[in-house]
Structures are given as structure tokens and as C-alpha cells.
Amino acid sequence: MHYLRAVATIALKDLRSEFRSKEAINASLSFAMVVLLLLSFAFDPSSEQAREFSGGLLWLVFAFAGTLILNRSFARELGNDCLDALLASPLPSWALYVGKCISNWLLLMALELACLPVFGIFYSIDWTVRFDGLLLVIGLATWALTVIGTMFSALTVNLRLRELMLPILVYPMMIPALLGAIQLTTDLLAGRPLSADNMLWLRLLVGFDVIYTALAVALVDTVLIG
């Protein structure tokens, strides 16, 4: 019970800090909108071809804009040496990590859900047709991005070039989850339901989430303390 309270304390603290400063969410939302707009100029949005890689376009935007949120996750603890106070407290490192993952996941989900209507308008796609499936896929793939991104945010927190290092480390690790997310999102946006045909990709997403969450929880103390 104490650990759950600790996880909730960290998650709420991060969300409250973010809502007050709006540092990460403003930057990532503006970036996502600009990229969506620019890509709509690059491709003919009404063409069938654009529909076929709509999942890829969407996840490209989510992944790029998402790292702006993930970058801030541990970096916000550096000011005033707050990370030291958290690590010296009787808060297990995994609880700190999970708390941050939850707040990051909620922020990323908010960003992604805000992007969907804009994406629908720019690319003339009705994203509401398979919305329940789409929400499941976005939720699972966003958790994958969150666990990897939060872990590397902890790893790169003391680097001067952390804004550059985070995407370089996160994207290669994310390839299996991104492949699954892109495939499933494209199917769902085309109106195809989740079925036996694409269940392998969904299983891959679930497996990726479980394995990387377990690995990150096991390794985070070593990453933070050395």
C-alpha cells in the first residue's frame, strides 16, 4: 500500500508540475501540429497511397513529439537537486520509475488524442470508425514508448546532449513496437478490425510492453545510482 501511494505521489507531482509549467506539453503539441501540417503538404492527403501509410505518418509524429515529453521526465528533477532528495528517500527506484511512467503515459496519451482530430482533417481520414481498437493500440504502443523513453531519460539525465541522445537511443529500441503500432494503426484507420490477421502484431505489442517493463523495473536502480 505504501508503495502504491509512493507511485501515485510521484505521478501526481509530475503531472502537477507539468500543468503549472506546461513546458513539455506545449512544446510537443506545437511540434506535433507543425509536423502533421508539413506532412500533409508533402503527400496528397486524399490519395489511396497516403491512406496506406497513414499509420506510419501518425506514429512518426507521436514518436518525435513524444520524446519532447520524455526528455523532461528526469531532467525536471535536476533543478535544485531534487533527484538526490528522491533517491535518498525510502522510495524504491522502481516506484520512482513507475510513477514517472504513469505521468508520461498520461501526457503522451493526451498529446496523441489531441492529434487525432487534426490528423483526420488534414488527411481526410475517419479515425473514429474503429476507435476502440485504435485506443487499445495507441495505449499499448504509447506504454512501449513510455517505458523505453523514461528509462533512457533516467540514463541520459546527466548528459549535456541529452536532448540529442534520447531519440538516438529510444528509436532503435522501439523498432519492434513501432512496426506493430504502424501496422495495426494503418489497418484500423482503413476500417479493418482487429482479427486473426493482425493479432500477431497486437501480441508483439503486449509482449514488448511486458518484457521491457519488467527489464526496466529490474535495472532502474543500477541506472540511477550506478
Partner: protein, 232 residues
Amino acid sequence: MSAVEVDRVWKYYGDYPALKDIDFKVADGDCVALLGRNGAGKTTLLRIIAGLSRPAKGEVRIAGRDLRELSTRRRVGILGHGIAVYDELSALENLKIFASLYGAADPSRTAMEWLERTGLDRVKDGLVREFSRGMRQRLAVARAFLHDPTVLLLDEPFTALDDRAIAVLQGLLKQARQAGRTIIMSTHQLREALELASHVVLINRGHLGFHGVRTQEMLDDPSWLYRNYGEA
């Protein structure tokens, strides 16, 4: 059993040995002045004692227990160079977070109690980023003391404090001494530290230069220690 046991600790930054075979024990209720020139390794040693950094060799135990055990960390209070409170949160929110993490039964009440003790109760809902430097420092002191730690680790605690924050901290340290708390305090303010300390640890370029009881000789002439045991 010692309150703090530093057992043959080595620490390297790359190839550079920042701490070399540091070995000493601190008994329950001792107040140790951790002295040394800039770069001697005081902060590195305090970070290792606080469990914020792992030694390359050797180990540190608090009340005979491993540092990274959660029950051990519950006993330790640390006041470092940074104030370790969040600028975007209010004073009350900051203290509630730490009271909650330290397992206080009623985090709000604990937080309010400490805001009153440090004279910040009237600005409890003010955001820390709007506080003056002195108010931020008093909040940092409250954050370090709010869980009633049995071992206090203070890294140059009086540096850059204003008069009021110094008075608050001195009062709390006096109470902690009377309550038999163990204190390890690194500082450059020799006279103030020696007046408070029962023992002295001197670090010279990563080596343990001196460890022993604080004597009247040191109080009469604070530079005596550096002259006799300091680096050449």
C-alpha cells in the same frame, strides 16, 4: 553498533581516485565535522554515505544495515548543496510529497507542522519559484528534517543561508544534538563546525588525514588541525 560505519571506501572518477581507503566509525549521538579543502572528497564521501553514489571498493553501513535498504534510508536526512524542492509546487505541496514518501501517517499535518516551525506557514500556498532565497532555504531545511531522521548528513549547510535560515538550522541542529541524533556535517566554516562537533574527520586529497575527538586545542585555534594533519 555504530550509527555510521565507513569501511575502507574507495571511489574513482575515471582513473582518478577521489577517495582512498577511507575508514572510520561514527557512534550514536556523535556530531562529526567533516573537514577538508575544496576538492578533498567531502561531498563525494557524503553522497556515498547517503547512498546516492556507490563506492568502487568498501562499504558504508548505517546502524549495521546496507544503505540502499529502504528502512535505512528512512533514518537518514540529507541537506545538500541544492535545496531539493520543486519550484512549480507550493511550499505545502513540496513538504506533503516528502512527508508522504517518508511514510508519515498524516502528510498534510506533518507538512503544516514543519511550515510553522520554519516560519513559512503564512506562505504555505505560495509557489516556491516566487520565494526569496532565504525562504527557499528554510523550506529545504524543513524538507530535510520533517521525518525526524536519526542520522543527519549536511553538506556545507550554512553556506549562502540568510540570518533567519541560519537561526532555524542552528536551532534544529541543537535540538537534534540534545535528542541524541547523529550528525555528519561537511563545512569550511571551521569555528562554527568545531563548536558544534564532538568529533572531527579531516580528508586530504581523498585520504583520511585525521579522525578523532574534537579537542579544546582545536577550538582555541581552528587552523591547528590543518597545520598538524592537513596536506603538505
